[in-house]
Symmetry: D2
Subunit: 336 residues, 4 copies
């Protein structure tokens, strides 16, 4: 951490800052220039709250040099983390395919769909139960009943099951779910993150549409520092000025997050683009960029889906997409 002081800083305040910094276990090196004095802080600065220093009268600016996350940082954990659920691995080279409908609509729908998804190559079944709709007048999901059907379907077809926990109060209802999904709008719900740090299940953490890579990693840090090391990062598009797609799928997030962190990184191109017609090229792009998995929205009959119809791939499209990404995965593994 670098602290840039204002000209002619008050001596007593400077001494008090130095003492406080040293009490935090960091050592301080001072560089005096004509315009500015610079303090170089050396040691573990991850626990130093940058605001506490910035607010001082003698300080002009503070710049971080070290990343503020530790548990999620590849520097302290160079090996890829591999998360394994009922024999399915995420991370470590293979591409895991998660597939399912935007909304579970009935027991029949999800049971029949899950069989087809498994046959087409899905590794994990997911489905929407508590839907977050921007309009209170839209279908809000089957909620607890939807989770129940989803778990039954997973059990029948032999796939592990992933579902979103939208609020701590729903935790009991998701007890049979194998992987918990934290939706993008909950990435900064720190009460929820702390809660998930105390459970014994992998968590897929979706990037908020306005979050930087560092903020996503800090949210992972919340879960990890509270005791749960099995976090899977998920890129699902960021909000930009481009109106043609729902969100801008940030493909760079995949290689960058894998450089910065040892955690698995998966991609959610359907919710990012908002259109089934982009799901296939974006899935291939994500696979080529090194993604550890894909989370795809698949529906037997998108035209009559109660939600997410425009962004849902048909089962036939899913089959084709899986074949394509498996071919790219093979190419990727060969060339490394």
């Amino acid at each position: 951490m670098i602290v840039i002081l204002k000209r002619d800083p008050d001596k007593a305040q400077l001494r008090s800052l130095m003492t406080w910094l040293e009490s935090k276990g960091v050592s301080v090196h001072t560089t005096v220039g004509a315009q500015q004095t610079i303090l170089g802080l050396v040691g573990d600065t991850s626990a130093i709250d940058i605001d506490l220093i910035s607010a001082l009268d003698i300080v002009e600016a503070v710049r971080r040099v070290q990343e503020p996350y530790k548990n999620a940082n590849r520097k302290f954990h160079p090996q890829d983390t591999v998360v394994t659920v009922k024999g399915v691995s995420i991370g470590g080279g293979r591409l895991a395919v998660l597939a399912g409908p935007g909304a579970v609509e009935s027991r029949e729908q999800i049971v029949s769909l899950s069989e087809r998804l498994k046959a087409a190559g899905a590794d994990i079944l997911w489905g929407g139960a508590y839907k977050s709709r921007s309009s209170p007048y839209s279908f809000q999901g089957l909620r607890a009943e939807g989770v129940k059907y989803l778990c039954e379907a997973g059990s029948l077809c032999g796939l592990p099951v992933a579902a979103e926990l939208a609020d701590i109060s729903q935790a009991e209802e998701l007890k049979d779910v194998d992987i918990i999904i934290v939706g993008a709008r909950n990435m900064r719900n720190y009460e929820l993150l702390r809660f998930l740090g105390g459970i014994n299940k992998p968590v897929i953490l979706k990037r908020a549409v306005s979050a930087t890579y560092e903020e996503l990693l800090m949210s992972a840090e919340y879960i990890m520092s509270a005791g749960n090391p099995e976090v899977i990062l998920c890129e699902r598009g960021i909000r930009t000025f481009e109106p043609h797609t729902s969100f801008t799928f940030d493909i760079s997030a995949i290689p960058v997050l894998k450089q910065l962190s040892h955690l698995p990184v998966i991609a959610d191109p359907c919710y990012a683009a908002g259109s089934y017609s982009l799901a296939e090229p974006l899935s291939e792009a994500a696979a080529a960029a090194g993604a550890d998995g894909l989370l795809l929205v698949v529906n037997a009959d998108p035209a009559h889906a109660l939600c997410d119809g425009p962004l849902s791939i048909k089962v036939e499209g899913f089959e084709k997409t899986v074949k394509k990404v498996r071919r790219i995965e093979k190419t990727r593994l060969e060339s490394d």
Copy 2:
């Protein structure tokens, strides 16, 4: 609502769409062109889920003509809504000033600060108790204890009290608070919004840093359609590419939201800009643009605040700012 059909739409599917639309109580006018056929939907389309139409094979695109919100819409409620709490009004011309510390740190701190804020012209006391920090290693607030001290301070100095409800589970702890604040990161927490629709207190709804005006109004619609009409909208900055400020304070939100809606609109320039030195000019700008209130972060000793120091105004700065905005408010009232 306008539905643009693909060329040569399947006749049976088109008939089925028309029948469904009419069952929803809207009438349909068809315009046939060489390139495209266009359906014009007339009537109350706010309850029609646009996705259900977009996903149809015969549809190329759907464009809304009417706003998707009703309760919050000025078209159906031309008069300004005025929210009144213990004799203090928000909306309807006068500028309400909410002031308090980013974090309640002790009983003494908030009691002594609240007296000074009242003397300087604050109308409502607020304070942070459950802090949402991006790092798990930063100070997380006094939580329930902080709320207790805040309510005591309000009671002692005779000001109504506002505080953030970060999770439904904290509701009981906030029972003595007069106004509930929904933080920006909770603007799309629909479980929380539905819950707040059932309480009998005004709600300050902060715009998420990535939310459009329409999305903010749809979140207000969640609360209002669930039974609580007392929603106060709050602009607190959006995320853009500019790194100098924490967020870009979107001044246009004030006049636009007041055109689109009858709800009061207040401004939070401190968290937007992230710097006390911008709080004063932005407060004046917000007042000049027609804001119904200001939510300001004020601290007796920002340099030693446990959080939000860099963005906190000193009490002396607050006194100066209140004088300035009151002068602008006067100018505004005279010239209308």
Copy 3:
């Protein structure tokens, strides 16, 4: 085009609008609702300036239904455009590789580099001569001299040459260049675009960092409507809030632009990401998403480059990247 009228529009003004619209060759269908009257315009609306209608007192809003570009529109030209220069094709399935240094620094540098690039699989040589630097104190390029060396190098190694035209006044100096590049910051330089509409060379048009897909296509339309049909679109990253990369490489631009337009679409991952370490995964992603070409910044000695060092790939990295993207290209062709 859809025109939404205000309630109770002035009859005379409405008649005048209808007459004017019909004089432009479009027919008008009227839908009268309780809240709103909607005019549906049918016919070729690309030449109608939307602002001329929006400004009328009787009009509430105007929505486009048809795209405002014609020459660049796939609807009117379903076949892929293939641009061919000295035997090298861009578009139509194969991936063209353009490579060269951010700045031509000397005759020796570019001659020696170009031989290595050709050997590694480059199809076209490019190089920076008129550099656009954000600081007036940075190296500004060899300018005319740089173009001369670049053309000599292309001629010696037998590769066509591409270079940026930063201002119309430089056109004579670029007379031997085979492909003209329009930099991102010139995408809205309409004087320049009109000029390029009158020349007989292909133009690579880079997307401005703040331009939508539609705006990029409208800039292509400027060139095409002025007589030059050989436009190659180039995605090079957009400006977002993410600070880790220079720009956010918008991978969706590739499939979307190819859906909307028949023009070839290439990708420039180096300037987008701003880091050589992302160039390889983003190149593979672009190839997988269907790009018709890649424009790569390659330098024999990035550590000592006079500009663009951090984003330049070494020749060894370029060789590896070309092999990888060729493998993906093969996969892509097989699976179609």
Copy 4:
């Protein structure tokens, strides 16, 4: 400037970097930590190209501490710059009002309009002649003829005249114009900026819709370092995700630019918001935030303007707006 080295940097490379830095006149202080070695550079670093250091193999990251601009920097020029043209001053406390039509359409139009604008309180006349339209099918302006009429109108009513120079080739045609405007899309046209550094007229430099404050100041630095100190900065909105306004008017730019620089800062709320109905509140907000001037688009008959109709204020609205902002200006002066 702070240089963060990778672990165990190559000794020879480090020595070579140190020698080079010292040859540039900066002194280097080294801080060695367990994880990282940090170099603190002290002295004038504005002429050091950050890329030249970042690209070195031994360097992990570089952070600027000092601003990269000198001429525009308030630190080296604490007094406000005041630009004076034919007796009208911009900067130094008073609010200058520039007004005129988006497009000069005829001699009669501009002569008659300019008289009314002067009567209503305009200080400077401006008008659009070379229009930058996103569609090649829209009205492109009267060009040289428009400039001629504009200058005649200014001369007749006794107001100085401002007009946009869209390309160096138009300079001769603008010889009678008093103030040159650089449009937002030309803010990074460095050929044009260098040219304007050599003329003897004030330049209004509009912020590009995707430019940071620092980038705007670096563009001012181009003009200033080439010999022209009379630069006026202009905020005209940035591109964000919000679709309701054309651009997001960044009110914070006004106080921030005035903190960072001594140059006058004016505001252009009409092109920012894209709607006349927002021009008035945003003008008041800009005045309250400390703007040195307003550039307003005014038209006698917006409904029939050949361009910019929806964002043009009527003359009556302009009169009202001038009165309001003058009242705020008075308040501002009193309270300082």
